[in-house]
């Protein structure tokens, strides 16, 4: 049974796609913009640029002083942020519905006139902040560089998913104000974005407000396409074995998976869930509960739009257990899954979990707005939020089996392992 969230959409003359989902049950409204620019669009030498804008977009624009974006919205009662991913960048706020005009005005001012405020001073400052973000999120925590290492192995050099969103600090250091301006001009404009408004506003008022604040912004030239990342399953095993001062030995395996928006990707995701999701997944039962060779296991699919996705499986070895044992058990379970024997009950369990996850994601205006932007921008159809559960429920055991056999194989994986140094063990 499809869900029944209302969806209305219009495209403005300048190409801005506006989607509205009215919900008068709550006194708040969520505004969410997805720009069709992520790390996959970054050419060599400009890695980390999409993410850098996630910072610069809060430093003011033509009619907004530095810091004012946050202060105006916070005073209006907003929760706000932005995020950058491989496929896109998004900017969002939720606030009491009387603040809708303010939110749209602020978003439009930075979409149209950000560059008035991007200068050497705030570029330097935000570059420093990004470096601290990288230190905090990647460098100063155990295993923090694992994804950087894995995508480098899983995809050929220059592939759109071979580098992380945080990018290279060398590229950021080399960036001039002109480079930054040029990147903005290429990607940030009404015809390269989706604006979603969800919550306490009528469809008519929401479209009127969108036109009022965004209608005058000029379209930008068609932005360059991201390079095509279409690529098949891995056909070999590549390893990156790290010895460092980690608290426990850990292994993460990565697989290429089918592109997002296909039943094949949904099936592959469910296959990984059968192995790694929840307490009842096969890996938790065997490695953690029965054999007790792992402290914990985790994993799942990361859906991507650019020709290929990826998925991971991670195990942290129990103290005193050789990591090789964990790797061997993972390999065995991967091959067992590929060879058959998935039960209807296992599939129904991971489908039920996917359904709860999805309903929780849509439980807030902000979450719903994010998924509407997502499905409008990447698949051209925001109505998919209402049929998503049915799509996942329609996947059969045979489809999961076929996806596992093709994409999730011991002989087609990359992996990073971390083992403790001798001194690390003495210190522990």
């Amino acid at each position: 049974m499809p869900l029944t969230y209302p969806i209305a959409e219009q495209t403005l003359d300048n190409g801005l796609r506006v989607v509205v989902s009215s919900d008068r049950a709550v006194p708040i409204v969520a505004v969410n913009l997805w720009y069709d620019v992520g790390s996959r669009h970054e050419p060599a030498g400009l890695t980390g640029f999409a993410h850098l804008f996630e910072h610069l977009m809060f430093q003011g624009s033509r009619n907004v002083a530095s810091g004012q974006h946050f202060s105006l919205l916070e005073t209006a009662g907003a929760s706000l942020n932005a995020s950058t991913f491989f496929d896109r960048t998004n900017y969002f706020e939720s606030l009491p519905s009387g603040g809708l005009d303010l939110a749209l005005w602020l978003e439009a001012d930075r979409m149209g006139y950000l560059l008035d405020a991007v200068n050497q001073e705030n570029l330097d400052n935000q570059r420093d902040v990004v470096k601290e973000e990288k230190r905090q999120s990647y460098d100063n925590r155990p295993y923090g560089d694992s994804y950087e290492r894995l995508v480098k192995l899983a995809f050929p050099e220059g592939h759109p998913y071979a580098h992380m969103t945080i990018g290279s600090m060398a590229d950021l250091d080399a960036a001039s104000v002109e480079d930054v301006h040029a990147f903005f001009r290429a990607y940030y404009g009404p015809n390269n974005a989706v604006l979603t408004i969800v919550g306490d506003v009528s469809e008519e008022d929401a479209f009127d407000a969108a036109k009022r604040y965004f209608g005058h912004l000029p379209a930008i030239p068609q932005p360059p396409e991201a390079p095509d990342g279409t690529i098949g399953p891995l056909t070999e095993v590549l390893r990156d074995d790290v010895v460092s001062d980690v608290p426990s030995d850990l292994i993460t395996m990565m697989f290429r998976l089918p592109v997002d928006g296909t039943p094949e990707l949904d099936a592959a995701g469910l296959a990984l869930d059968i192995l790694a999701a929840g307490q009842s997944g096969r890996l938790n039962r065997r490695l953690v509960r029965d054999e007790q060779i792992a402290q914990s296991v985790s994993g799942g699919a990361l859906p991507l739009i650019g020709g290929v996705s990826f998925g991971t499986l991670t195990g942290i070895a129990s103290d005193g257990i050789d990591l090789q044992k964990v790797e061997d058990a993972l390999v065995e379970e991967i091959e067992k899954l590929a060879e058959g024997g998935i039960t209807e009950d296992e599939l129904a369990t991971v489908q039920a979990q996917a359904e709860r996850d999805w309903l929780e994601q849509l439980a807030t205006c902000a979450g719903r707005a994010d998924e509407i932007s997502h499905h409008a921008l990447l698949f051209g159809d925001p109505n998919r939020i209402n049929t998503r559960i049915d799509q996942v429920r329609a996947i059969t055991v045979e489809q999961v089996q076929a996806a596992a056999a093709k994409w999730i194989r011991a002989g087609g994986r990359v992996q990073v392992s971390y083992r403790r140094t001798e001194t690390g063990e003495e210190q522990a």
Binding site: F70, P96, L102, D200, S280, V288, R289, E360
Partner: protein, 452 residues
């Protein structure tokens, strides 16, 4: 086409809002049940909050409450750990436990369409756990591994050192909630079952439901599952007031290889019994509660020392804390601490009318966002119960905030922050940080304590 607007459009008045109301009943054995009907929330949360003060743990077995809580679902009188997980997850439910200094929370999130069987399983875990030797032993091992992970985590190390140096050793909160290796290792299923028997029962519990209740007899489903719960557990003991260690001092925790210093700076703070709890939240918002606050305006936006810091007043049932936390680049650790202490101390001189008004607007107007999702209602009410305040305390808190003047916000802040000194915890590369602390000097920092 319209004229481009060069000034921000006006913000309309927010619609009135109050914390969601509950329909309260009791189970057949007298356990209070609070049902929050939240239309459109198709995933419900059922949360069981049980008074379980950690001071009930024997000193040499600290962590027994945590291991007990984590093994409730690891096998029941009716089914094995694997079978229990399979049954629960087959209904699309997620299960979790949380242990705080005053209470145990056990909860499930589940699509409302599967509510009844999932609540039965929740009750089975809480009222009929098996505590087999093997399952408890496994969780002791997992907890020991987790301690290794915690020790590698700069943020965790900072919190541990902060608690250990802010609270007197006689106060339970000076030590980790989930125990240390020497108190975890001796635990077996015997002590776990004993702790359960003495502390978990219907007389200590309250049961919360938040979700779309239309057409569902929620109270009936809960009574069906929990209505025959019996237990020998007596009433919870009263936790004593915490004892704080006053004075300026700096604790340096060596974490070789660190590329940033994790900071945690703070002191004692109010708890919810204090009528100035709301005023303190307003002051906090101004000083360090957001990216536009006084601290981050300097540390992040002017100087680029950090990805971001935050301050907070936090409190369990009795005795709160104030703290400023964040990570800064190793080379600027001394400078960042100096700036942070200066800003924290200068705020004692007064917060402006405008700052306070903006903070009040933000805190009051964000309330409907904070409680939009069913689970956040259940979480808030569960923590109100644990903290010993009425279930609609969110309304009291908002009323306190609305009534706060700039003078009252300043006064609430000044009563705590910097009055009895500030504890500074630094987790980082000691050989690089030590000289920077020495340069700042003991006039600013107080005495230096080094931890390995």
């Amino acid at each position: 086409m319209n004229q481009v607007l060069t000034t921000p459009p006006a913000v309309g008045a927010p619609r009135p809002w109050a914390f969601p109301a509950a329909v309260s009943t009791t189970t057949s054995v007298g356990t209070p049940v609070h049902v929050f009907d939240r239309p459109g929330q198709y995933v419900a949360t059922v949360r069981v909050t049980i008074a379980m003060p950690l001071i009930a743990e024997p000193r040499e077995l600290e962590g027994v409450a945590t291991i007990m809580s984590r093994t409730l679902d690891e096998g029941t009188e009716l089914r094995s750990a694997n079978d229990f997980a399979a049954a629960l997850e087959r209904h699309g439910a997620a299960y979790g436990v949380d242990v705080s200094s005053d209470a145990l929370h056990v909860e499930i999130s589940v699509p409302v369409s599967h509510l009844a069987p999932a609540v039965q399983l929740l009750a089975e875990a809480i009222t009929r756990p098996a505590f087999t030797k093997a399952d408890v032993g496994r969780h002791v091992t997992i907890r020991l591994g987790e301690i290794n992970q915690e020790r590698a985590n700069a943020g965790y190390r900072a919190r541990e050192a902060f608690a250990g140096n802010l609270f007197d050793p006689a106060t339970r909160r000076s030590r980790p909630t989930a125990g240390t290796p020497d108190t975890i290792r001796p635990l077996s299923n015997v002590q776990v079952a004993e702790f359960y028997r003495d502390n978990i029962g219907p007389g200590r519990a309250q049961i919360l439901f938040a979700g779309d209740a239309s057409g569902v007899d929620v109270a009936g489903i809960i009574d069906e599952a929990f209505g025959s719960w019996t237990s020998a557990a007596g009433p919870a003991v009263e936790t004593p007031e915490p004892l704080y260690i006053p004075g300026n001092r700096v604790v340096l925790v060596d974490r070789p290889g660190s590329v940033q210093s994790q900071l945690l700076i703070g002191c004692a703070g109010p708890d919810r019994r204090d009528p100035a709890w709301g005023a303190a939240a307003v002051a906090n918002h101004v000083v360090g509660g957001t990216i536009t606050s006084r601290v981050d305006t300097v540390l992040r936006e002017e100087k680029g020392y950090t990805y971001g810091t935050r301050t907070s007043f936090a409190a369990p049932r009795k005795g709160g804390t104030f703290s400023l936390g964040g990570a800064v680049r190793t080379e600027v650790t001394g400078a960042a601490i100096s700036d942070a202490l200066r800003i924290l101390r200068e705020a004692r001189n007064g917060l402006t009318e405008q700052e306070v008004q903006e903070a009040k607007d933000s805190l009051i107007r964000t309330a409907p966002l904070r409680y939009e999702q069913a689970d956040s209602v259940a979480q808030q009410v569960g923590s109100n119960i644990a903290n010993g305040v009425p279930i609609d305390f969110a309304d009291t808190y908002l009323t306190q905030i609305a009534a706060t003047t700039a003078d009252e916000a300043t006064e609430a802040y000044r009563r705590y922050v910097g009055t009895d000194g500030l504890l500074v915890v630094v987790v980082g590369e000691a050989k690089d940080v030590r000289p920077q602390l020495t340069t700042l000097g003991s006039d600013v920092l107080g005495k230096l304590i080094e931890l390995g």
